[in-house]
Amino acid sequence: MLAKWKRLRLGLGIMLAAGLFAGCSPAPTETKTEPANTGAAPAAEGSQTKQSAEPKTITVAVEAEPVSLDPQNVTDGNSLTVQRPMFEGLMTFNDQMKPVPLLATEYKFNDNATEVTFTLREGVTFHDGSPFNADVVKANLDFVRDEKNGLARNNYFSFIKEVIVKDPTHVTIVSAEPNSAMVSYLAHPSAAFKSLESLNKKKADPGFNLDRNPVGTGPFKFAEWKDNQYVKVVPYENYWDQAHKAKVESIVYKPVIEAGTRINMLKAGEADVISKLPTQSAKEISQDSSFNLFTAPSLNVYYVGMNLKLKKYQDKRVRQAMNYAINKDDLIAGVVDGYAQVADSAIAPHTFGYSQQKVYEYNPEQAKQLLAEAGYKDGFDAVLWTRNSSEFIAIAENVTIQLEKIGIKAKVQPYESGTLFDMLDHEKGTDLWIGRWSPGTGEADYGLRPNFHTASFAPSFNNSGFYSNKEVDKLLDDALVTPNQEEALKKYAQAQQIIYEDAPWVFLHVPDNVVAKSKDVTGVTVLPSDTVLVNDAEKN
């Protein structure tokens, strides 16, 4: 019996050991194909390849694995960062978030802003060799607009009524309603184009995975996605823009959730660029001469939302008092080590259409007086909901302490984010909550409409405090249908003024995006939209 068991035990042991360390040992044999990839690399890049003993690869440590490599199937900035070298759209944003032509050479609106016609750049090809033309634009936009395809950005493109191919180099996009913000919408990274061939493959075989087979027109093409380890892109030899051809042999994006680890990777030379640095470490990195620190104001606005259905928040003076009660500078110094600026509008300064408002300067006396005038001399009790991440809790605690000084006793109640959204959507006792909003499009309409329009009440949209002002509604609606951009911007500015004055939020701060890179790498840009661009990067 025992002997039998010994044999069995031995067998089991060998099976386990062999199975684990050979069969599924983490040593990735695929990475050995690397030379093959660079071997197939373009002749133009060949000379550079031969010169350098070490292949010049730029490693970017990002905070998560991309959800998908299909630009129309993601909503997070991190996935877009990884997609950027591979994809391009008709328009793009410059570093001021102003839309400028990219795959288009020019565009023209009709008189009432219902149509915009693009002239397309000629000689642009996809990574699979197929040409970029008006049919591609139509096929892509029609595909994402079809709800049956279930793409995450489906709703984003609902402003389009029809896409008309005039000739191979001219395409007209007709909007459902007059829409002057259309060009901004089309400059967003999600309005990038996949090759017609890959779309046709998907149509022929629903099992074909567009999330994992990206084919774009960008300076880099897809090489490999090793699950939970990295996404690798290599230069595209026939990229149309000679001035912006790839200057490195590959870019590797590694998902590293823990920020401390990303910093250690930078220090150990394992990563050249790291995104989303916690502010505590930013100071330390900025003092080290071998690294550069980038800080760019983000498009995020942090706020304290209030449920305007509750009697206590119905008086504007109460809401303003709360704005006066918060020392924003103190909050920024205490919570984000100074890497932020005061939110001086409902949208962040780099949002297209932003208009600066007069900040509620910290003034506890005035706050108390306003509260007294509104009949809350002794303040009141409140519950402050927050996500349970340390950042959000720190903000909530700082806000609570400051509110207490004017007699508002708020109790911090942290929830896991999914639970919190659910509770806000279905008004399960909404009182105060810490919120954050960033307009995916980078322009005013998407910053204001989902939060302040009467038609945006929860659960369909983000107006979970039920703020409603007919004037704001009208300004937002009018701005969207105004063909004249200047006039539209004026209306957005007016809307921002009313909202800031009405104070349905306690406007807190706009945090900086903090990104670090090694001194050896140049040509890295950080867009306010949370995207890190390394298309033009070089390594010495």
Binding site: P26, E270, G418, D425
Partner: protein
């Protein structure tokens, strides 16, 4: 013995059915809506309804459960992840490999270090070595994994440059995460071994062995350890089962693509198919590890019989 194993395995089935029901209810009754968490306000109410319909989330819970179980039993299909749109079983198998490798390596550290420290402390009781060993284990137990991992990384990867900071690949990637993960378990093993060995050292047969002139080390290795190891094995097995559930903190710190980070991501995004499959998997792992522990008693001590 064989019939014992068969009976134990058969006994797992009703348990797993109960676990599957509980895990199903647990994920579906937790507040939070997977479609809303995944798409935010980016989709229209119509598209939202369509996606909900597509995932079958509008059906009554028992219908959804029936469909879920039927797919598992008839096709071995655990569904498609809402978040990554990938096949759940494939993704789990891929990540399970990493978790297994990391767990085994950690247990190796734990057993080697733990046994050595435990035995030395017991045999050299009340000496400086014993005190040193026990103070070290208490310290090891109290150090947060998160901090210890980053410290190891700082020393061995950033300062000395001997090992990579994180990621997975060769054996060199395994050293730091497994050491971080194994440290706490090593401390527990050491303390258990010490007290267990001390108990056995008081037995009559040990005194007899000494009386007949056997050397101290031989006695410990041949007579004492056999009996002393039983509680240690039980506890080690339990720890093994826990580690198999994925080491969330260590995986995050070292960017190790195991099950722990997968579970956390899925819970945060309400990825129902993944959460359910993982809970089932963890239950099975625990049951199997327990069975192995029971079986190993007989190997350590032939006096133990299975009824």
């Amino acid at each position: 013995m064989f019939s014992f194993i068969v009976r134990r395995v058969a006994g797992m089935i009703p348990l797993l059915i109960v676990v599957s029901i509980i895990s199903f209810l647990f994920v579906h009754l937790t507040p939070g809506d997977p479609i809303r968490v995944l798409y935010g306000t980016e989709i229209s109410p119509a598209a939202y309804e369509m996606l909900k319909q597509k995932e079958g989330l509008n059906d009554p819970l028992y219908v959804q459960y029936g469909r879920y179980i039927k797919k598992i039993v008839t096709q071995g299909d655990f569904g498609i992840s809402y978040r990554t749109k990938s096949n759940v079983s494939e993704e789990i198998v891929r990540r399970l490999c990493y978790t297994l490798v990391l767990t085994l390596a950690s247990m190796l550290w734990a057993v080697v270090i733990g046994l050595a420290v435990g035995i030395i402390s017991a045999t050299k009781r009340n000496t400086i070595w014993d005190r040193l060993g026990m103070v070290t284990t208490i310290t090891a137990l109290s150090i947060p994994e998160f901090w210890f991992g980053l410290m190891l990384m700082q020393i061995f990867a950033v300062q000395l440059g001997w090992l990579p900071t994180s990621g997975s690949g060769g054996l060199e990637h395994l050293i730091l995460p497994s050491l971080t993960l194994g440290l706490g378990v090593a401390a527990i093993v050491a303390r258990f071994t010490r007290s267990s060995v001390l108990d056995v050292l008081r037995e009559d047969y040990v005194r007899t062995a000494r009386a007949k002139g056997q050397r101290g080390w031989v006695i410990v290795m041949t007579h004492v350890l056999r009996s002393a190891l039983i509680p240690v094995v039980t506890m080690t097995g339990l720890q093994f089962g826990i580690l198999l559930g994925g080491a969330v903190v260590v995986e995050q710190v070292f960017a190790w693509p195991g099950l722990g980070s997968y579970l956390i991501d899925s819970i945060l995004t309400r990825d129902y198919p993944v959460i359910q499959a993982l809970i089932l998997l963890f239950s099975v792992q625990f049951l199997v590890v327990n069975l192995l522990v029971d079986v190993s008693y007989g190997l350590l001590n032939p006096q133990i019989r299975y009824e």
